[in-house]
C-alpha cells in the first residue's frame, strides 16, 4: 500500500480529471458511496502556472522599485506608516509589510466590503471609493443592491422577519442582551441548558456544550482534550482555529495530505508502531482532526474511511462541522448524516452556529463523560461569559425548524433546496468550462482564477453587474491556486442562480477564465437520491400522522440507495 502513489501530473499535485474517489478502494469496495462520492480537482495548466508566477514576479519587482522611490522621497507615502522610534525594533517584519503595501493594497477593495442589510440571498452594499488606489476608503453614502454569493448563509436563516426573529425578540425581552458571567460562576441561564440539550438531540449524541464563538470553540477546547505526549494528526488544510487549538494544547502535531487516506494510514501506523520520536514511548492518545466540508477546497472529508482507520488504530476523531452542519445530509445534520454514520463513532463532534443557523457561536457534542469533562476543564466554561440570550434563541428556533419540531416541513424544504441549488450551480459551472474544485454536494464552490490580476478583475466585474462574491489569493491559498468562492444558500431561488451564472459566464469569457480541459463530471440535480429523500420525507410525515412512534426503516436515503445500487 505504501508503495502506491496517486497519479500526479499537475503543477500542484492535484489529481487530474474527475476523481471518482477512493482510489485505494479496497477499504470501501462494498460501500454504496463509491458511485455517489464525486470530487473534482484539476491540475493547473502549465502555461497558466508559469504566467501566474510571472505575474507575481512582476508585482514584486514593481513593489521593490516603488519602495525604493518611496525611500528616496520621490513617491509619496499615502498610508500611515510606522514612525521610526529611536532605539525601537520595527514592529513588523519587512516582508509582511511589503506584501500588504505592494500587493494586497492594490486589490484591497475586494475585501471587507461593508453592507447595511441582512446578509441574505441579496444584500445592500455600501459603495466605497478610494481616492488613492486602495490606501484609504471613503463611503459615498450610496447603496448597491446585489446578489449575495459570499455569506455562509447555507439554510437561509439570516432573516430579519419570520418565526426566528419573533422568538429572538421575545427572548431578548425576557433574558436581556448580555450575561456577564461564566458557566461555572453565575452565567448559566435556563435558555443555555435548553440549547445544550437541543443540540445533543439534534446531533444524536449523549450530551453537548455550547460556546459563544466558533473560532474559540476549537481553540479553547482542544487543549482540554489532548496535551503533552499526545499526537494530533491534522489535515493540512484544517482551519486556522484548529491549528491554533492544536498548538495551544502542547501535543505533537503532524499533518497529512489533504483528504489522503493512504497518507493518514501511513502516519497513523508509524505513530502507533514507533511511538514518540526520540523517547520511543508509545503515544498517550492519537487524535485525528478533520473538517466536514473544507471551506477553501469545497471537498468533503472521506469520513467512512477515517472512521475505519480510527477503529483499526484505536485513535480518536475530532470532526469540525463548521461548514457542514445544517448544510449537508438528508436531515441537515451534517456530514455524519450525509454518510449515514452513527454519530457515536465520532468521538468529538464540533460545529458552529454561524453558518447554517444564522447565529454565532459553536458547540461540542459527544459522550456524557467528554462533555462533563469540558464543563469542568474547558477554558470557555470558566474564563469567558456565556452565549448572549438572543443568539441562543436564534439557534434554538432555527434548529427546531430544521428538525421539523415546529410542525412544518420548512426545514426539510430548505435542506432540499440547498442540495438542489448546489448540484445545479456546480453542474452549470462545470458545463461552462470553469475549473471547479470539490464535491458535487458541497455548498462551497471554488472556481479557480489563478492569476493575481484576475482576482481583482473578477471581484470587481461581478460586483459591477450586481453579484457579490468572495475571491481569495495567496497567502490563503497556494500561489498558483487563487480562486473565487461561491457559497450557496437555500434562500437563493432558480432565477437568482441563473442570473448569477449569467454574470459569471459573461465575466468568465471576458477574462478567459474557462481553463478546464476535462470532460465535466456527470451528475444531476434530479438524481435518484434526491427523489428518495422526498419520498422518505413524505413517508415520515405520513407515518407521523398515523402516530406510529417507531422510526421508519428508510431513515437514511443512502441505505436505500445502497440496496438499489446493489
Amino acid at each position: 500500500m505504501a508503495g502506491k502513489t496517486k497519479p500526479k501530473n499537475g503543477m500542484n499535485g492535484k489529481t487530474n480529471g474527475i476523481n471518482h474517489c477512493y482510489q485505494n478502494g479496497q477499504n470501501l469496495q462494498n460501500t454504496p458511496l463509491k458511485d455517489t462520492f464525486i470530487e473534482t480537482f484539476e491540475e493547473t495548466p502549465l502555461s497558466t502556472a508559469i504566467l501566474t508566477y510571472l505575474g507575481y514576479a512582476v508585482l514584486v519587482v514593481i513593489g521593490h522599485i516603488r519602495d525604493f522611490l518611496r525611500s528616496l522621497g520621490i513617491e509619496k507615502i499615502k498610508s500611515c506608516t510606522e514612525p521610526k522610534l529611536q532605539g525601537y525594533v520595527s514592529l513588523y517584519q519587512s516582508w509582511e509589510s511589503f506584501y500588504t503595501r505592494n500587493l494586497y493594497r492594490r486589490i484591497r477593495d475586494c475585501w471587507n466590503r461593508p453592507i447595511c442589510s441582512v446578509a441574505g440571498a441579496e444584500m445592500d452594499m455600501l459603495e466605497r471609493v478610494s481616492p488613492d488606489n486602495g490606501w484609504n476608503f471613503e463611503l459615498t453614502g450610496k447603496k448597491q443592491h446585489v446578489l449575495n454569493f459570499g455569506s455562509y448563509n447555507y439554510l437561509g436563516f439570516a432573516e430579519n422577519k419570520g418565526p426566528c426573529a419573533d422568538a429572538v425578540e421575545k427572548s431578548t425581552m425576557k433574558y436581556g442582551v448580555g450575561c456577564c458571567g461564566s458557566r461555572q460562576e453565575l452565567g448559566y441561564l435556563e435558555i443555555h441548558k435548553q440549547l445544550d440539550e437541543l443540540v445533543a438531540k439534534f446531533l444524536g449524541v449523549e450530551a453537548a456544550a455550547t460556546f459563544p464563538m466558533g473560532f474559540a470553540t476549537n481553540s479553547m477546547n482542544m487543549p482540554s482534550i489532548v496535551g503533552k505526549g499526545c499526537l494530533i494528526l491534522s489535515d493540512e488544510l484544517n482551519h486556522s482555529s484548529l491549528v491554533l487549538g492544536s498548538r495551544l494544547s502542547g501535543a505533537s502535531i503532524k499533518t497529512f495530505r489533504h483528504n489522503d487516506m493512504e497518507d493518514l494510514e501511513n502516519k497513523l501506523k508509524n505513530a502507533v508502531v514507533f511511538g514518540q520520536p526520540r523517547t520511543h514511548r508509545p503515544w498517550k492518545k492519537i487524535l485525528i482532526v478533520v473538517e466536514g466540508v473544507y471551506s477553501m477546497e469545497g471537498s468533503i472529508v472521506r469520513l467512512p474511511e477515517v472512521v475505519a482507520l480510527k477503529k483499526k488504530y484505536k485513535a480518536y476523531v475530532y470532526l469540525d462541522e463548521a461548514h457542514s452542519v445544517g448544510a449537508m445530509g438528508p436531515h441537515g445534520r451534517g456530514i455524519v448524516d450525509y454518510f449515514g454514520i452513527d454519530p457515536k463513532d465520532i468521538d468529538i463532534m464540533m460545529g458552529t452556529f454561524t453558518k447554517s443557523f444564522g447565529a454565532a457561536g459553536g458547540y461540542i457534542g459527544g459522550s456524557k463523560a467528554l462533555i462533563n469533562h469540558l464543563k469542568l476543564q474547558s477554558h470557555g466554561s470558566i474564563y469567558s461569559c456565556t452565549m448572549a440570550p438572543p443568539v441562543t434563541q436564534q439557534i434554538i428556533s432555527s434548529m427546531s425548524i430544521i428538525m421539523g419540531a415546529d410542525g412544518t416541513n420548512e426545514g426539510q424544504k430548505r435542506v432540499q433546496q440547498l442540495k438542489w441549488n448546489t448540484r445545479y450551480f456546480r453542474r452549470r459551472l462545470h458545463d461552462m468550462g470553469f475549473i471547479i474544485y470539490g464535491n458535487k454536494d458541497s455548498p462551497v464552490i471554488p472556481l479557480l482564477i489563478f492569476m493575481p490580476s484576475k482576482i481583482a478583475a473578477l471581484g470587481r466585474e461581478c460586483l459591477k453587474r450586481g453579484l457579490g462574491i468572495v475571491v481569495v489569493g495567496f497567502p490563503a491559498t497556494p500561489i498558483i491556486e487563487s480562486r473565487a468562492r461561491f457559497c450557496l444558500s437555500a434562500a437563493h431561488n432558480k432565477e437568482m442562480l441563473d442570473k448569477a451564472l449569467g454574470i459569471i459566464n459573461e465575466v468568465g469569457d471576458m477574462l478567459s477564465l474557462k481553463y478546464s480541459r476535462t470532460i465535466p463530471p456527470s451528475f444531476s440535480e434530479k438524481d435518484v437520491e434526491l427523489l428518495l429523500v422526498v419520498l422518505n420525507v413524505m413517508l415520515m410525515m405520513y407515518l407521523k400522522r398515523m402516530t406510529v412512534v417507531t422510526r421508519p426503516v428508510l431513515a437514511s436515503p443512502h441505505c436505500v440507495q445502497a440496496t438499489l445500487v446493489l
Binding site: 525594533v89 514592529l91 509582511e96 475585501w111 461593508p114 447595511c116 441582512v118 446578509a119 449575495n148 459570499g150 455569506s151 455562509y152 430579519n160 426573529a165 429572538v168 425578540e169 431578548t172 425576557k174 433574558y175 436581556g176 442582551v177 448580555g178 450575561c179 456577564c180 461564566s182 461555572q184 460562576e185 452565567g187 448559566y188 441561564l189 464563538m213 466558533g214 473560532f215 474559540a216 481553540s219 495551544l248 501506523k269 508509524n270 508502531v273 514507533f274 483499526k312 484505536k314 485513535a315 454561524t354 453558518k355 443557523f357 444564522g358 454565532a360 459522550s367 463523560a369 462533563n372 464543563k375 469542568l376 470558566i382 474564563y383 469567558s384 448572549a388 438572543p390 443568539v391 457579490g468
Partner: protein, 483 residues
C-alpha cells in the same frame, strides 16, 4: 535542428587525438589517486542506491508491526468524571431563570446578584434591549461571515469609530468574543524570538495569547516594578552581548489595567516610564477598568491622567461594563490596522452579531451621557470595600475603587481544597440568605500562578445603601457561622 545539436555536442567530445591523451594521462596517474577516485565513485553509488537500506524502520516486519498495533492501548479520551462532581452539581443548581440583572431568580428564589460582572447594569437595561431589537428587525441575528467576506456591517464600523473616539485613539478593531481579543492581539505582533515581559497576575486569556505567540516570556512579580526593572536590566546586558540579535528582537510589556485575579490597579506611570527607558511596547488589557476607572470610564489612562498615546495597544472586552458580547483593541492606526490581516480571532471568525454591536453602542451612549452612574459605581465600590474590610476572619484584596472584590480567608491553610470548601460554605450560606455570590474559579493546573482561593464579589452601580449593608450583614453572619 538535429544537426545543430549534433554539432554542438561534437565540440564537447574529445577528438580522437585528445582521447588518446586522456587515456595516456589516466595510465600515468599515480595508483593512490586511482584508488581514491574509485573509492569516491563507490561511495557515491552507495549513497544513491543503498541509503534506504539503513533506515531503522525496516527492522520491524509487517507481522511485528501488526502485533504492536494490536498491543497499543491509548489513554481514554477524557479522564473519568464523577457524575456528582460538586462543580457540575453547582452548575445545575445555579441555573438562572430570567434576566441576570441586579436581582436574579435561582431555584425560584430571588437573590441579590453579587456575582455577575455587570458593573454598570447594562445587562438588563431596557434601552439597550430596545436598541438591540431594533437592529434585529433590520439585520437579523447572525452576520454569516467573517469581516473580510461580507461580515462587515455599518454598525460594526460605527461601533469601532465610537470606541476609537471614546478612547481618544486613532483606530479600534472589533472582535466577536472577549476572550479572543487579547489572546489574538498578542501573537499578531510578538513572534518567535521576541521577548515579552508579563506581570504574574495576568488573567488567563493573556496567558493563552502568550503561549500562542511562541515568544520568550519573562514573568515579573505582580505589580512589582523593581522586579520588572531587574529583568529589563538583565535583558539589556544580554542585548549588549549580542547586538545583532538585539536588533531584531522586539520587546513587549503586557499588563492588565485592573487585575481580574487580584482587584488591584497597575502602576501605569512607572510602567510608562520604564517603557520609554528600555524601549518596550506596552500592551494593556482593560476589560475590568473600562467603564469603571476614570471620571468618564476611559480606564486606567484616565485614572492616572496619562495620554492614551503612551500605551501602544489597549484591549478590552465588551462583556463586563458594556454588558454585550465581544471585545475591541484600540491604539494608533499603524498598530491596529495590522490586526485586520494578522489577528487570528479577527480574520478567521464570523463578525459580532449586529444586534450585539448596537447593544454595545447604546451602552456606550448611556455611559457617555450620564457619568453619574460611574460616580455611583465608585461610591458603591468604596462602601462595599469598607463594609467587607470590617469582617473578621476574611480579608478584602485589591483597590477600594475596584468593582471586583476578592475576599480571602485571613489565615490561609496549606490545603487549598479545604480553604475552597470553607469559602464555598460561606457562599452557600449567603445564597440561602438571598445574596448570590460565587467563588472565583480557575483551571488550577493551567494557571501560571494560581491566586489563593477567594470569593469574588462584583459591585453594581445600581446597589442602594441598604442593599450594600445587607450584603455586608449577610456576609458577616455567614463568616461567623462558618469560621
Amino acid at each position: 535542428m538535429m544537426n545543430i545539436i549534433m554539432a554542438t555536442n561534437n565540440s564537447f567530445l574529445p577528438k580522437s587525438s585528445d582521447m588518446y591523451e586522456l587515456i595516456e594521462s589516466f595510465l600515468q596517474a599515480p595508483t593512490y589517486h586511482l584508488i581514491f577516485e574509485a573509492l569516491l565513485i563507490i561511495w557515491i553509488f552507495k549513497l544513491i542506491f543503498f541509503s534506504t537500506e539503513y533506515r531503522p524502520e525496516s527492522v520491524l516486519t509487517e507481522k511485528e508491526k501488526a502485533e504492536l498495533i494490536e498491543e497499543w492501548q491509548p489513554d481514554p479520551l477524557v479522564p473519568d468524571v464523577d457524575e456528582n462532581h460538586p462543580l457540575l452539581q453547582a452548575m445545575e443548581k445555579n441555573i438562572i431563570s430570567g434576566k441576570p440583572d441586579k436581582y436574579v431568580m435561582i431555584n425560584n428564589k430571588s437573590s441579590l446578584n453579587m456575582a455577575t460582572l455587570n458593573f454598570l447594569g447594562m445587562a438588563g437595561n431596557a434601552e439597550v434591549e430596545a436598541a438591540a431589537i431594533k437592529t434585529l428587525k433590520k439585520y437579523g441575528v447572525g452576520s454569516c461571515g467573517p469581516r473580510g467576506f461580507y461580515g462587515t456591517m455599518d454598525v460594526h464600523l460605527e461601533l469601532e469609530e465610537k470606541f476609537a473616539k471614546f478612547m481618544y485613539c486613532e483606530e479600534a478593531a472589533l472582535y466577536s468574543y472577549g476572550f479572543a481579543t487579547i489572546a489574538s492581539a498578542i501573537p499578531a505582533y510578538s513572534k518567535r524570538g521576541d521577548v515579552i515581559f508579563v506581570d504574574e497576575g495576568v488573567c488567563f486569556s493573556i496567558q493563552k495569547g502568550l503561549v500562542a505567540s511562541r515568544s520568550r516570556i519573562k514573568w515579573f512579580k505582580h505589580n512589582d516594578m523593581e522586579d520588572l526593572e531587574r529583568l529589563l536590566l538583565i535583558q539589556q546586558d544580554e542585548d549588549k552581548k549580542n547586538p545583532k540579535k538585539a536588533k531584531v528582537t522586539r520587546r513587549f510589556v503586557v499588563v492588565e489595567g485592573l487585575y481580574f485575579n487580584h482587584g488591584d490597579i497597575c502602576p501605569l506611570p512607572k510602567i510608562v516610564e520604564l517603557k520609554w527607558k528600555y524601549k518596550l511596547r506596552l500592551f494593556m488589557e482593560e476589560s475590568f477598568s473600562l467603564g469603571v476607572l476614570g471620571a468618564n470610564g476611559r480606564g486606567v489612562t484616565e485614572h492616572y491622567n496619562i495620554s492614551v498615546d503612551e500605551v501602544d495597544l489597549i484591549a478590552a472586552s465588551l462583556e463586563n461594563s458594556i454588558g454585550s458580547t465581544g471585545g475591541f483593541c484600540c491604539g494608533r492606526k499603524y498598530v491596529i490596522d495590522h490586526q485586520r490581516l494578522s489577528g487570528l480571532g479577527y480574520c478567521f471568525s464570523a463578525s459580532l452579531p449586529p444586534m450585539l454591536a448596537t447593544a454595545a453602542i447604546e451602552a456606550l451612549n448611556i455611559m457617555q451621557n450620564d457619568s453619574s452612574i460611574l460616580q455611583r459605581l465608585r461610591e458603591n465600590c468604596r462602601k462595599m470595600y469598607d463594609g467587607l474590610s470590617m469582617i473578621s476572619g476574611v480579608e478584602v484584596m485589591g483597590d477600594p475603587l475596584a468593582p471586583i472584590k476578592h475576599v480571602r480567608l485571613a489565615e490561609i491553610s496549606d490545603n487549598r481544597e479545604l480553604d475552597m470548601q470553607t469559602l464555598q460554605r460561606i457562599a452557600d450560606h449567603a445564597m440561602e440568605n438571598g445574596i448570590a455570590i460565587v467563588l472565583a474559579r480557575y483551571l488550577e493546573k493551567e494557571e501560571h500562578k494560581l491566586p489563593p482561593p477567594s470569593i469574588r464579589i462584583s459591585v453594581n452601580c445600581q446597589l442602594t445603601e441598604n442593599e450594600i449593608n445587607r450584603v455586608v450583614d449577610v456576609f458577616t453572619n455567614a463568616c461567623r457561622s462558618v469560621l
